[in-house]
């Protein structure tokens, strides 16, 4: 009896583990694959939605969308290995780490699979091209200008990031720092600290409160991560703090906090359209598999109505495809966008 019960439990457990690694799309001859960062992330769901929409629009059914169970490299490696075994033709991935996926991606490449990245890049040698939601420079510029504007041109500001090794956030923060250092316009802005909330609401809340306690003259917090910006927005708004917030956030999550008056903590923030990014990744996958582009800079392909061009990543000979500049969400358009995503 005991043994049977234990066996049943183990079986239930195994089923649950597999069940939580959700997937959609049709089986059989899978050609195109999308690997997101993790299941349960609304932003990733929107990318997947765009990918699916573009594939459906092209009449392609041989695709699969994989959400790893956790936002870790290990979980992604498992997913990629199973895709290699299935013999897919292309894998578009939003990487959880820039370097740790290297060996797995190399073995995929050796099997002739076209690797491209979206949202977060890997080392350039491991992929053909990168669907960049917004150029690093563009995001850095938008954020530092927002800080400059909200702070009134001078004063202390802090950054609340995701994890300390998050590829995107680090690149954007670096760009902000470089832009601020290069132009004397920003010389009166003083970055007091980069705090890490690990994309976890409680930790981000703790970190925001710590920033407020530590820096009495703080004027602006910039949180270039959706979880961090929402947590910080709630802390500032609940406290009716004079410290203001900007950053990158999901409109539906941030709608309650966006406003010009003292009752709202965030005057405006930015993001791109993750649905469009998913679409771009889908069209780029198709173009790569069909041989319309080979990942070298200068190549062009059509994504629906728009023609995209592969540009060179600064300081390398690798290519990327830039979706466009980040989109600003302010009190005038938030009501409309919060319904979208």
């Amino acid at each position: 009896m005991k043994k049977i019960l234990a066996l049943v439990l183990v079986a239930v457990m195994a089923v649950a583990i597999f069940a939580s690694c959700t997937q959609s799309g049709t089986g059989g001859g899978v050609e195109y694959a999308l690997v997101t960062k993790a299941a349960g992330n609304a932003y990733n769901e929107k990318e997947a939605e765009g990918f699916k929409a573009a594939m459906d629009a092209q009449g392609i059914t041989s695709y699969v969308i994989k959400h790893p169970e956790k936002a870790t490299v290990d979980a992604q490696i498992q997913v990629i290995n199973s895709l290699i075994a299935q013999g897919v033709k292309s894998i578009a991935i939003a990487a959880n780490d820039a370097n740790a996926l290297s060996a797995t991606l190399k073995s995929a490449k050796a099997k002739g699979i076209k690797i491209l990245t979206l949202d977060s890049d890997v080392a350039v040698a491991d992929r053909l091209t990168f669907c960049n939601q917004a150029g690093v420079q563009e995001v850095g510029q938008a954020l530092i200008d927002a800080v400059y504007d909200i702070a009134g041109g001078e004063g202390d500001y802090a950054i609340l990031s995701a994890t300390s090794q998050a590829t995107n956030q680090n690149a954007w923060i670096d760009a902000m720092k470089k832009i601020a250092a290069a132009d004397s316009k920003y010389s009166k802005l003083n970055l007091v600290e980069v705090a890490y909330g690990d994309d976890e609401p409680q930790k981000s809340t703790d970190q925001t409160q710590a920033l407020l306690t530590k820096y009495q003259n703080l004027k602006v917090i910039c949180a270039p991560t959706t979880v961090g910006v929402a947590a910080a927005a709630k802390v500032l708004q609940d406290k009716k703090s004079s410290v203001k917030l900007t950053g990158l956030g999901l409109p539906s999550e941030m709608a309650a906090y966006i406003g010009d008056d003292a009752d709202h903590s965030c005057p405006y923030m930015f993001l791109w359209n993750p649905i469009d990014l998913g679409k771009l990744a889908a069209y780029a996958s198709i173009a790569l598999v069909k041989g319309e582009i080979d990942g070298t800079a200068g190549g062009t392909f059509k994504a629906g109505e728009t023609t995209y061009k592969l540009t060179t990543v600064e300081g390398t000979n690798a290519s990327e495809i830039i979706l466009g500049p980040p989109f600003k969400f302010d009190p005038s358009n938030i009501a409309e966008w919060k319904k979208v995503y």
């Binding site: 005991k2 457990m13 939580s20 299941a39 349960g40 809340t205 530590k214 999550e253």
Partner: protein
């Protein structure tokens, strides 16, 4: 002086309270005297109310010699359930949503208790499975969606009232009374000290065990609704890994992993200790990367002090008996 020392080493709660006070003063100095403010202390309790509340349930589970690592899975499933009910305008009534979360938690806990008590499955294995099941269902059932911001506005507002503090205080008072002065509390201790003796003396061990896991589920469900209120968001990944914080709080508070030993006051102190460390590390100007490492070192240090002081007091007690 000797008597005073003996009193300290003989009573874990007192020694922990002293360590806690010293830690508090050190942190206050290191943070430039910003730590002792009433707002800061309020935030410490609020941000750690989930850990504190769930540590009460964990205390009972650990007292019976068991363990429950499924609590954050249950938290996520119940929290997601109420978050989604709000998002799609099914139910907007906050007390009712709390009741639903607690109900879901109770069912999850009951299932754990039944499998462990009647099926004689090892608690860690059973709750490991349950952890994946509930966390997985929190993703699958709700299609990977999440609810936040305006979706859960009513819950968020409740999080800003005195509500969370009242829930926290009420939970501790109830548990203090129950564990100290009721037959149920005595039975839990009896089972943990000597299961066979408890059975022979007429305690329905299975029933108490089921009750203990059900209560753990109730608190995990409550924590799920509370988490949505405090952080204004319900995500399938919410509070992932928090179960270790809860267990750590109990262990720091002097609760024995092998059962039978531990108190509500000790658990409260352990929880506060952990909360102070959590709150202090970013404040004293440590790099985020160092914070986990320091946290680990502090937990180990406190537990070692704990074990050594207990051994000392036992030796002293033995020495006295020989005379």
């Amino acid at each position: 002086m000797k008597g005073f020392l003996k009193k300290i080493t003989g009573n874990h709660e007192v020694s922990l309270a002293i360590i806690l006070i010293v830690l508090f003063i050190v942190v206050d100095i290191l943070s430039g005297f910003t730590f002792h403010g009433i707002n800061n202390i309020g935030e410490i309790f609020k941000n750690n109310s989930l850990t504190l509340i769930m540590s009460l349930g964990m205390l009972c589970v650990l007292l019976t010699g068991g363990i429950d690592i499924s609590i954050t899975g249950v938290l996520a499933f119940s929290g997601m359930s109420v978050g989604m009910l709000m998002k799609y305008n099914v139910i907007k009534n906050v007390p009712l949503l709390f009741a639903i979360a607690i109900g879901i938690g109770a069912l999850c806990g009951l299932l754990n208790g039944f499998i462990i008590a009647k099926g004689k499955v090892s608690p860690i294995i059973c709750t490991l499975g349950a952890m994946y099941i509930w966390r997985g269902l929190a993703t699958v059932v709700f299609n990977g969606e999440w609810a936040s911001g305006e979706n859960v506005a009513a819950m968020s507002e409740f999080g800003n009232t005195a509500g969370p503090y009242i829930i926290l205080a009420a939970a501790f008072v109830i548990y203090f009374v129950v564990m100290k002065w009721t037959p149920f509390g005595r039975k839990v201790y009896a089972i943990g000290s000597n299961r066979e003796a408890a059975r022979i003396s007429g305690i329905n061990v299975d029933r108490v065990e089921i009750a203990v896991y059900t209560l753990m589920g109730v608190l995990a469900g409550l924590a799920g609704a509370l988490s949505v209120s405090l952080y204004g968001s319900a995500q399938p990944t919410m509070q992932d890994g928090k179960e270790m914080d809860v267990i750590a709080a109990c262990v720091i508070g002097g609760v024995s992993m092998s059962g039978g030993r531990g108190t509500v006051v000790g658990t409260l102190l352990g929880g506060i200790f952990y909360a102070v460390v959590y709150k202090a590390l970013p404040l004293v100007g440590l790099e985020s990367i160092w914070q986990n490492l320091i946290k680990g070192v502090i937990i180990l240090a406190v537990v070692i002090i704990n074990v050594v002081s207990q051994r000392l007091s036992r030796r002293q007690a033995l020495a006295r008996r020989e005379i």
